[in-house]
């Protein structure tokens, strides 16, 4: 920072004066709270929640298929429209993971 011209040195000095303030610190229980949250989020779904979620998915898919069949769609089209979004979701999830790996700015 030695190559500053006088005006820049003035604003440098103003910034030093104006921005001088105590810097807050992380609260002492940050690490404990984080550990708790990591544990909580790492826990797999309990059997009841898993069954409920699976049941919901299966029933939704079945109803959709019946309705689409009732509208005269062929089984191929029904399979595509039912499974397509699932594949898209999985693809998006994988792409997002890839982005994390690349850690884009």
């Amino acid at each position: 920072m030695s190559e500053m011209d006088p005006r820049e040195a003035e604003i440098d000095s103003l910034l030093r004066r104006s921005m001088a303030a105590p810097v807050p610190r992380l609260s002492p229980d940050f690490h404990q709270a984080l550990s708790r949250e990591v544990r909580r989020r790492s826990q797999p779904l309990n059997p009841f929640s898993r069954s409920l979620l699976t049941g919901y998915g299966v029933v939704s898919a079945a109803i959709s298929m019946v309705v689409m069949r009732g509208q005269g769609l062929g089984w191929v089209a029904i399979a595509l429209t039912t499974l397509g979004p699932l594949f898209t979701l999985e693809l998006a999830r994988r792409l997002r993971r890839r982005q994390w790996v690349m850690a884009p700015k």
Binding site: M1, E8, D12, L14, M19, V23, R25, H31, L34, S42
Partner: protein, 189 residues
């Protein structure tokens, strides 16, 4: 002799489920993550910066399995932090507590004289407003350097840019502030 593990070694151990390794990674980077978030959100938002820090490490934990080391671990963590803090700021439309002229005129009249104190308060307020209009990366560089006393090398590491780029961020930010303050009619000698 104590062997200090590198971040990559810690990540490798954390990837196979070693929670101590992850905890060490957090201990090593939590202060810097917090300070980086704070430099983006502003000094009034310490609690939010802590939330950002927590969310960053939860994301890191979640993404550990897919981290293959293409980037430095610290760069990866700081980039997540930067993005997380900027997103939070944009989402919540953070507004710094605004001091209007009435509030400024009610500044305690103590040394070195009410008029001078009022001028200083107004100028500082103006400076804060000007800083808030700068690009996030300049705001962050200024906060880290002038408020938190980080060296240029630390600013560069946290913003994941070369030192010369960090220097140019600071230089450009000072130039822009100079122009903005001049427009507002402030002198600051």
């Amino acid at each position: 002799m104590i062997r200090v593990e590198s971040d990559s070694q810690l990540v490798a151990r954390a990837q196979v489920g070693n929670q101590d390794a992850f905890a060490e990674l957090v201990r090593r980077h939590s202060d810097r993550v917090f300070r980086l978030a704070l430099s983006i959100l502003g000094r009034e938002f310490a609690a939010e910066a802590e939330e950002v820090a927590q969310e960053v490490f939860l994301k890191v934990h979640h993404a550990l399995a897919s981290f293959r080391g293409e980037a430095e671990v610290s760069s990866w963590i700081y980039r997540i932090t930067f993005n997380q803090a900027v997103n939070l700021k944009a989402r919540a439309r953070y507004r710094r507590p605004h001091l209007d002229d009435t509030a400024l005129s009610q500044v305690e009249t103590a040394e070195p004289g009410p008029h001078s104190l009022l001028e200083t308060a107004q100028r500082d307020q103006s400076l804060s407003e000007c800083i808030a209009t700068l690009p996030e990366v300049y705001q962050s560089a200024l906060g880290l350097y002038y408020w938190m006393g980080a060296s240029v090398a630390e600013v560069a590491a946290l913003l994941d840019v070369p030192e010369n780029t960090a220097k140019s961020y600071l230089h450009r930010a000072r130039q822009l502030l100079d122009g903005m303050l001049k427009q507002r009619g402030y002198s600051y000698v």
